[in-house]
Symmetry: C3
Subunit: 428 residues, 3 copies
């Protein structure tokens, strides 16, 4: 890794010490114009989502909290280095000298790329070894970079918050692997897959940090100015709507109206996933609320009906329910994005606004909103294909017998991979 | 809600795709001038305070952690949508087309508005049903918007961090409701109102995030430039002073000098509440320390003496002690703000600084600092009146028998409203 | 404290109400040029590191979580007030009127200064009384301010993230005190120095917030523009590399490849410590990875070998292992910084970039990179000397018999200093 960075990675002009010369050449009057100040606060929010958000969301299992937060930490830190290289080769290669120039936008993108693999980890939580996770991440990042290149550059699709690129891909990648690694006797082993009171409170830390910072996630690499501003507001509204519907459906579906912590921890986030594509468009405030409203329903319904169905009849064991939180809302968000793009008009966006929002410049200057809508839909198909085919290949690799995966009895148990935790467990 | 948003809510010029045209018309040279970049980092800090800060602060009860953080999540997400509408009608209505134009400042204000209701929830924690909380929030937000309109627009009072508008109103609103919903036999029921070791550590998460981000709370909607800068510094100092006095008083008041976690979790925050009005004024650094010093004493003293007194003699059961954390410091802060405003002078602020800080422009150009001090005091009275009268009305509504409030025996117990948590409790 | 602030501390021109006049005089066109907008997001990240990061990192002990997070809160809040004064006298004194002018950079520096004392607390965790901690902080801040003045101003050394100034000084200060306060029979007392399952998860909150926000720590007071940008990227990379090597070494060193939570909680952060000096230099991306790689090894190795060795043969009891996390990586980082500075050249930095990065202006205009490297090395010696000599003096003061330090049996036990926690402990 160090060698590859040594050969290929350099600072870009905004993080290089030649910045003061770059400023003179480009008539930039102030240091505050450095992209760092536009994006660094959003980057930190995304960073919190990746490490604390995803990490603590996975602590809900009663004896797998170390594995949830610890392995999340490991694969995220490993993945982001590999992502800087892979995404760099596809997106940031400087043709003049064949080197990757990195700045703040690259490290946000690396975090995004890692998110795809962490979503896949959600389906496999407690059932794979750290070595398997490293392999999953290595291939996942690589597939992600290629898929992203095709969707964003070849098809010129807009997907600032990654409904397609991150969520749809990541979820189907993880679900396909989980399907191939199906453990038929898991339910007959000693069952550690539930939660305890305090582990559910820990998981709420993850939920809340994901929920709060999702507006930053969807706006982090949106256009400067109105693009980032609008993406944040739309996501904020969709998330708020998801919370209400999740509480309502969770309460209505249970005997005596009791709420289920699993729904609250997950389905409340569906609105953010579904706004990944359309957040920077002029989807309107009530459009955002409708998206959040629908996703809250879809996602809670998924936990109630679809996850048990998939486990029983389709042989897919989905520990965290990523099908409900990422796959369905991701696909829904991609469709919403395609429709919103197809119906965009100069009367709503203004001429300049339309060009800026969809980047109808250069070789894409002739593209119309309707065409853009078609390309957005094509992007969704690419994400699905990469997720399913890539997941199948990696799943078969992970079935090879030398990765040290835990036996059925050791699933969801920290004792296999962590020192000392067995000794202290009886005392709490 | 969706229909109301569809009819009334639009993007403002800084979050609309016409931003690039707006830039040309107003000679704005750079995207960084978009208000998003002035306020978004502060917004995210406030957002963390609302959801993680208030949420985790309320997890301290040994069997009501789900309810503390979960219902906080529900009413905050519901409240902010309603707040965008109510505040929009009063503050951001565009006279040209009768629609509400929202931007970053609106969503910060919506979070502020929600804070008022969450404070009220603190008095009622564990004793009301989620449906009652929704009703409390619906009316609370509405009252808040009217009260805020009168204080900030009619009286032209400055209250950037909401000592009056948020804390005084919210606390008296909650206390009055709690007084009306008094449960005389609560102490004879099985007592679950204490904390356990780990639930107190969870509550410290809430305390610390509130404490750390309070400078953002008080500076989020202050004036650009020196206003935000000064508000952050003043709040930072007042909070630091509160911590020292809280530890000192807590230790001095106990046998053998032991510290009480309840004081540390709450009274340390009093300095931030009390700087809500005066933070953006030239209160001086030692003024901020004095405010924090006094509030730490008042608030810790409140937990030691006033809360037991109120419960025994005034029939007010205040679960989280909001009288000590929000009511008294809020009133104190309003008085400090009035005095600071009344003693402002051009020699301290400079002519332009005085006009900017107190917004002595347009129809208020003739107002003097002394007059402003009087209006600030009047604002406090409005906040108190709205809190008490509004709380009385809503309290009687909540006493109606069909809201499904828990019996005395079920107070402070998650089992009533949450699935499964009874099963797992014995094991921890 | 209030009197001292009243006599000496004023707002600087960017937080004073005269800012609008200052803008006119200096041709500043926009409020966004206020230093607040350059540094406030980074400040809040640093603030989170100090209070949540350090605080929760110290909750890992099974019966000392209140003390870890609570006393951290106390001494940080006390320390930052004292630091504003001490650092103000040495760095921000306005010669015109003999007063300290404070702004956002001062409060970041106060947080940094506090970090030095919190590091020292790490060595003493569970073995000292709150009064001893206050004394430790009072002297620590004072020593820090003098040491920082010598290193940054007299020697004109660059140390934006404080590898020397903060980490090396703080660690040796704490270790020397711990050596003097050696408790020979500690291991024979009832042993409460271990962790339990949930306390380790709490500690991961601290670890992750420290890890995520370390790029802000190292870039918070770096130069505007490319300096902050580059410091953030370099730190991000070094931290990622540390995580990988920590997991690898931790797994390789244990029987059956199990991971040790102590390593994951601490050694993963070593890369951030070691980039404290060199982060803003053109150390290159692979240079950052190498630094992180080496530090992860050094630090994990320290936990495995050096800490037990120090306790057994050198009579230094280091509760949190600060020697491995701060002392060794800090010294390593200072050496890396000196080498990077000594090898700087105009071809890499550009003429203007070199002058800006190393501040070769005014009386230092003649200094060459090679000379700068020598001064950097001298700075390390100053930090070491202050840490060891200062620690020795303060250690002897703390050995005086009237500070109320806990007996060996009461070490690592919250019951001595906190109300009620003994009653509730059996139930969890």
């Amino acid at each position: 890794m160090i060698i590859l960075f040594g050969l290929f990675v350099r600072y870009d002009e905004e993080s290089d010490a030649h910045w003061s010369e770059h400023k003179h050449e480009n008539n930039i009057t102030s240091d505050i114009e450095n992209d760092f100040y536009y994006r660094y606060p959003s980057f930190q929010d995304v960073h919190v989502m990746i490490f604390v958000g995803f990490g603590f969301l996975m602590t809900f299992l009663k004896r797998y909290s170390f594995g949830g937060v610890g392995f999340n930490f490991l694969i995220a830190a490993f993945g982001l280095q590999w992502a800087l290289l892979m995404q760099g080769w596809f997106h940031s290669l400087d043709p003049a000298d064949g080197q990757i120039k990195i700045g703040i936008e690259n490290i946000i993108n690396a975090d995004f790329c890692v998110a795809g693999c962490l979503i896949a980890y959600g389906a496999l939580l407690g059932k794979v070894s750290p070595v398997q996770l490293m392999v999953l991440t290595l291939f996942g990042i690589t597939l992600f970079a290629v898929e992203e290149y095709i969707i964003l550059h070849v098809l010129h699709v807009r997907d600032a918050g990654g409904s397609m690129v991150i969520h749809t891909f990541g979820a189907y990648y993880g679900l396909t692997i989980s399907w191939i690694l199906y453990r038929p006797k898991l339910n007959q082993s000693k069952n550690l897959s539930g939660s305890v009171y305090h582990s559910d409170v820990f998981a709420m830390i993850g939920t809340l940090f994901l929920w709060m910072f999702w507006p930053s996630f969807n706006s982090a690499i949106a256009d400067h100015g109105d693009g980032q501003h609008r993406a944040a507001i739309n996501t904020y509204l969709a998330l708020a709507a998801s919370v209400i519907t999740t509480f309502a459906i969770s309460s209505l579906s249970a005997k005596r109206g009791k709420l289920d912590m699993v729904h609250i921890q997950n389905a409340t986030l569906a609105g953010g996933v579904a706004m990944g594509t359309a957040a920077e468009f002029m989807i309107t405030t009530y459009g955002s609320l409708i998206v959040g409203f629908c996703c809250g329903i879809i996602s809670t319904f998924g936990y109630l009906v679809i996850t048990p169905f998939m486990e029983k009849y389709m042989k897919i064991q989905d520990t965290c329910g990523i099908h409900n939180l990422h796959a369905m809302p991701g696909v829904f968000g991609a469709v919403v994005g395609a429709i919103t793009a197809a119906t965009a008009s100069e009367s709503v966006y203004g001429h300049e606004g339309l060009v800026n929002t969809f980047d109808f410049k250069g070789e894409y200057a002739e593209r119309t909103p309707a065409m853009q809508g078609g390309f957005q839909a094509a992007g969704l198909c690419v994400a699905l294909a990469f997720g399913i085919v890539g997941g199948a290949i990696v799943g078969f690799i992970l079935r090879l017998p030398f990765w040290g995966d835990p036996s059925d009895d050791n699933c969801f148990d920290d004792e296999v991979y962590w020192e000392k935790c067995s000794l202290v467990f009886p005392s709490i």
